[in-house]
C-alpha cells in the first residue's frame, strides 16, 4: 500500500450536533463508550470511522453488547494472543447512537520486532493445525449453543414451589435469575471470543493473497481475486437451500397454490392447514427449522433482526419467489460446479502468466490456503451471528418477560432499551420488590425512560452518520480494518474530499446496470424493493439474499473486498459497488442511477 500524508480531516467527534428530539441519547450507553471531553485533544487527533457495515442502525441500549463483545474479542486475539506485530485492538465509541471505531497500532520498531517473536510461532501453529482447530472450534461453539438454548430462566412466583424451595433447597429465584442473566451474557461473550479466533487468520491469508495479486497483476480487479478464493460450499448457503427444498416440496405435494404473491405468511399457513398435503408440508417445515431457520434477517447484531424461526415473513416470501422460479423453468440450483470450474480456470491462467516457477508455487500455495480457510471464514457466521445470537436475544426476551410480569416493562422486548449494566441494577430492584412485597421503583422509573429512548432511537434512525470523524491517518495497518471495511488511507482521502455528489467505491462485482434507486436503511424497508431497482444501502447482509434475484445492482456505503455485499452480489451475478462512503446520502430513492461494477463508478443520471 502506498503511504499517503494527511491532506484533510473530518469533523471532530465533539462537534457532531445531536438531531432535534434525540437530546439525552448519551444516557442509554455506558460512560466508557462516550467521547470524553476531558480527553478531547487526544481523541480529535485520532481517526474514527463509522462501522455502518455491522451497525447500520442506531444502537438500542442493550444491543451495544454486540459491539462490545466483538471488539473485546478482536483486540484480545490481535493484540494479546497472536501478538500481531503492528496492531493492538479496536476501540469503539458511540455518537448519536452509531458505532465509530478506531484501531490502535504499534509503531515502535523495537516493540514490533519483539512481538514478532511471539507472533510467528503462534500463527504457524494455527495454520499448520487448521483442520484440527476448526474441529475444536466447532465443538466448543456447539457446547455453548446447546447450553444457551437449554438455559432455564427462573420466574419470580407469588408463592415459591414447595419442592424447589424446601426439599431441593434452592435459594432465592431472584439470585438464580441474576445468575441466569450473567450466564447468558457469559455464553454470548464466549461465542464472540470464538468468533474471531480463526477468522482473523483467515483474513490474514486473504490479505496476503490479495497483496501478492496486487503486485503481480496490478490491474486485477478485487472481484477476480475473491472469485479465485470462493466457490466452495459453506454453511451459509444451507438455510437458503432449505427454502429451495421447501419450494420444491410445495410443488411435489400439490400445495404450491397456497403461496400467492402478496399473501402474508399467516394467510399461507392457514390455507395450508386446510389440506393433508398442506399439513404434511408444515411438518416438513418444522423439521427443517432447527437449526437452519436460526438465520437472522439482519447480520445478527440487533435484537429486532429476528431469526426466520421467529419471523417467517422473509422465508415465506422467498419460498413464494422460488416456486415462481420453478414454474418459469428454473432449477434453483446454484451453479456450483460451473463456479468452481471457472474459478479454477482463472487461477490456473493467472498462475501461467507469472514469470517464474517460484512465483507460481507461491501463488498456488496462497490460493490453496485461502480456499482452505474460506469455508470457516464464511460458515462461522451461521453459528455465531445467526444461531448463537438469535438464542442470546431470545434468552434476554425471557428475562424481559420476568420484568414485564413484575410491572417494570410494558413488554418483554423493553429489556433491550436498558444497557447491560442497567439490567443488573433492574434485577436488584425487581428482586427486592418481589421479596419486599411492594412494587419496585422500576415500575415507575423504567416505563417513561424506555418510551423516551424509543423516541430518541427513531429520531437517530433518520439521521445519516458521517463516514468518519477526526484526523486522517498516514497509513492503516490493521488487516481487519482494511479487509472488512475497505478502509485504506487512500479511500479515506476520497471520502474526505467527497461531498460533490459523485459516488464511487470498490468495484465489487462486475457488470454495468441501470435502474431506479431504492435507498434502504433498515431490514424493515427491504420489502419496499421492487424488481429491477438498484439497491442502495449502508450495508447488505447475506440473509437479504432473497432480495438479490429481484434487483439490478447493489451499492453500499461501507464494505470491503470480502464484505457480505460483495460476496452475495457475485454469487447472484449482479454489478455491485461497495465502500462508497456516501451512497445513501448522495442518492435518493427514485433517482435513475448507473452502477458500473467494473470501475466502481455510480452515476446519477
Amino acid at each position: 500500500m502506498t503511504e499517503v500524508h494527511p491532506v484533510a480531516g473530518f469533523a471532530s467527534p465533539f462537534d457532531v450536533p445531536t438531531p432535534a428530539g434525540a437530546e439525552g441519547w448519551e444516557e442509554m450507553y455506558p460512560y466508557y463508550l462516550l467521547f470524553d471531553p476531558e480527553r478531547r485533544e487526544q481523541e480529535d487527533k485520532r481517526f474514527w470511522f463509522y462501522n455502518g457495515m455491522h451497525f447500520p442502525e442506531p444502537m438500542p441500549a442493550f444491543d451495544m453488547i454486540t459491539a462490545e463483545s466483538c471488539y473485546l474479542s478482536i483486540g484480545r486475539y490481535q493484540g494479546r494472543v497472536f501478538a500481531i506485530p503492528t496492531v493492538l485492538g479496536i476501540e469503539h465509541r458511540v455518537v448519536n447512537g452509531y458505532v465509530y471505531i478506531t484501531s490502535n497500532e504499534v509503531t515502535d520498531p523495537a516493540q514490533i520486532e519483539k512481538r514478532l517473536e511471539t507472533f510467528l510461532p503462534r500463527i504457524g501453529f494455527y495454520y499448520e493445525n487448521w483442520d484440527t482447530l476448526v474441529d475444536r472450534w466447532q465443538s466448543e461453539v456447539d457446547q455453548r449453543i446447546d447450553e444457551l438454548g437449554a438455559l432455564e430462566i427462573p420466574r419470580l412466583p407469588e408463592i415459591e414451589d414447595e419442592d424447589e424451595a424446601i426439599h431441593d433447597h434452592k435459594l432465592g429465584p431472584n439470585y438464580r435469575l441474576m445468575a441466569a442473566y450473567d450466564r447468558t451474557l457469559q455464553l454470548y461473550n464466549e461465542l464472540n471470543q470464538l468468533h474471531f479466533e480463526l477468522l482473523l487468520l483467515a483474513y490474514g491469508a486473504y490479505l496476503t493473497f490479495f497483496e501478492f495479486c496486487g503486485k503481480a497483476f496490478p490491474d486485477m480487479g478485487m472481484q477476480t481475486m475473491t472469485q479465485m478464493i470462493g466457490g466452495d460450499d459453506t454453511t451459509m448457503f444451507r438455510p437458503d437451500d432449505e427454502l429451495k427444498e421447501l419450494a420444491r416440496a410445495a410443488i411435489d405435494k400439490g400445495v404450491d397454490s397456497a403461496f400467492v404473491d402478496g399473501r402474508n405468511h399467516e394467510e399461507i399457513v392457514s390455507a395450508l392447514k386446510q389440506t393433508d398435503g398442506g399439513r404434511a408440508w408444515l411438518e416438513d417445515l418444522e423439521s427443517r427449522k432447527h437449526p437452519w431457520f436460526f438465520m437472522s434477517t439482519g447480520d445478527g447484531f440487533y435484537h429486532h433482526h429476528r431469526a426466520w424461526v421467529d419471523d417467517l415473513r422473509l422465508p415465506f416470501a422467498a419460498i413464494t419467489g422460488y416456486i415462481g422460479q420453478l414454474y418459469e423453468g428454473g432449477t434453483l440450483a446454484r451453479p456450483q460446479e460451473q463456479i468452481v470450474a471457472e474459478r479454477n480456470r482463472i487461477s490456473s491462467e493467472y498462475a501461467e502468466l507469472l514469470p517464474s516457477d517460484e512465483e507460481r508455487t507461491q501463488f498456488e500455495q496462497m490460493v490453496g490456503l485461502c480456499r482452505h480457510v474460506f469455508p470457516h471464514a464464511e460458515g462461522h457466521k451461521f453459528f455465531i451471528e445467526h444461531w448463537g445470537t438469535a438464542l442470546f436475544f431470545n434468552k434476554m426476551r425471557e428475562i424481559g418477560g420476568v420484568f414485564a410480569e413484575q410491572g417494570f416493562f410494558g413488554s418483554a422486548d423493553d429489556v433491550f432499551y436498558l444497557n447491560i449494566h442497567e439490567v443488573h441494577e433492574a434485577l436488584s430492584d425487581v428482586g427486592l420488590a418481589w421479596s419486599g412485597g411492594a412494587p419496585g421503583r422500576g415500575t415507575v422509573y423504567w416505563p417513561p425512560r424506555i418510551a423516551k429512548r424509543k423516541k430518541i432511537l427513531a429520531k437517530l434512525g433518520e439521521w445519516t452518520p458521517p463516514a468518519a470523524l477526526g484526523s486522517v491517518p498516514d497509513v492503516i495497518n490493521d488487516p481487519t480494518v482494511q479487509l472488512l471495511w475497505g478502509v485504506t488511507a487512500e479511500r479515506l482521502r476520497a471520502w474526505a474530499g467527497g461531498g460533490d455528489g459523485t459516488v464511487s467505491g470498490y468495484a465489487a462485482s462486475p457488470g454495468v446496470a441501470e435502474g431506479n434507486a431504492r435507498v434502504v436503511r433498515t431490514i424493515d424497508e427491504i420489502g419496499d424493493v421492487k424488481a429491477g431497482e438498484v439497491l442502495v444501502c449502508s450495508v447488505t447482509a447475506p440473509s437479504w439474499g432473497p432480495v438479490f434475484p429481484k434487483i439490478a445492482a447493489a451499492v453500499s456505503d461501507i464494505g470491503g473486498m470480502m464484505s457480505h455485499a460483495a460476496i452475495v452480489a457475485r454469487e447472484y451475478g449482479l454489478p455491485a459497488v461497495v465502500g462508497t462512503g456516501n451512497a445513501t446520502s448522495a442518492i435518493k430513492t427514485g433517482d435513475r442511477v448507473r452502477v458500473d461494477g467494473n470501475t466502481g463508478a455510480v452515476t446519477i443520471l
Binding site: 500463527i123 497483476f217 490491474d219 507461491q362
Partner: protein, 325 residues
Amino acid sequence: MDAPFTIPFDEIGLDQVGIVGGKSAHLGDLRGAGFPVPQGFAVTTHAFDLLDLPAAADAAEAQRLVRGQEAPAEVRESIVAAYALLGEDVPVAVRSSAVAEDGADASFAGVQDTYLWVRGAAAVLESVGRCWASYFNDEAVAYRANHAGLAPGMSVAVQQMVDARVAGVMFTLNPVSGDPSCIAIDASYGLGITVVSGDVTPDSFLVSKVTREIQRSTIGAKAVECVADAERGETVIRDVEPKRRERLSLEVDEIRALAELARRVERHYGRAQDLEWAIGRDDAVYLLQSRAETVWSQKRKESSTVAASPLDAIAATFLGNARNR
C-alpha cells in the same frame, strides 16, 4: 539465387533475420503462422551491400552520397518485379528493417525512416533509397555507437498498405503498470502513424487475458486522423469532426478480436509483444508489426519477490506498512 536482393514475406522465416532485418523476419514468420499480415517483400542486405558505401564521411555527407547514387540495375529490377507481384500500383509502406532493429533486448524502433502510401515502381525505388540513406542519419549512427556489437547492414520492408478506418498499437501487458494479465490497446481513426508518433491522444482499452473482460475504456481526444487522399496519391492529416472524437473508435467486438489476436501472437513467441494493427475500411483486422516488449519484461526479471513460505508471506503482510516506514 544464393544472395537474393528481394524476398517475398511468404518465403521469409526467422532464420533469415541476418539479411532481411527483424521487422521483415517477424512479418514473414507471422504470415507463415497464419496471422493476418498484409503481404509484401524485403529488400535484403545483399542489395544494400552493393551500394558504394561511403567510408569515413560524416553522417550528413554519407547520407548525401547514398542519396546521390542509383542502385545497380539488377537490384532495381528485382525490386520492381517484387513490387509488381503485389498488384498493379498498389500503395505500400516502405520502412527500414535494420538488422539491429527489433532485437528483443534493444529496441531500435523508429530510429529509421518510414514512407507511407507509396505508389508506383519509381516512387518505391525512391523510398527504398531514402531508407538506405537513413542508415547514416544522426540518430541511427548514435544508436549504433551506443550499442556496440550490433550487426551492420540494412534491409527495407515493403508492405502493402491497409486503408485503415482505425488503427493503433497494442501491448500484451499494461505498459503503465506492467500487469502481464492485460492487453492494452491504443486506437485512433485513420492510419496508425498518428498513434505511433504521438500526434493524437488515442482511445485506450485494457482487456483481461484471463476473464476476457474489458477492464477499462478511455475516450481520447483523437483530434486528427491520417488518411489516404486517393486523388493526390498521398496521405493527408485532417481534423476529426467532434461527433466522432467523442465516441470510442472501436466496437466491443473489435476490441475483443484485437485482444485475441495479441494473445495469439504472444503465445506464438512465448513472450510479451508490442504490436501495430489496423482495421481496414473492409472491417478486416490486420497485424502490421510485432516485436518483443522490452521494458517490463526486463523489470519483472529483476523485481521478482518470493517469500520462503506462505507463512512468511502472511507475516510480511501483517508487517508490510510498518516495514515501509
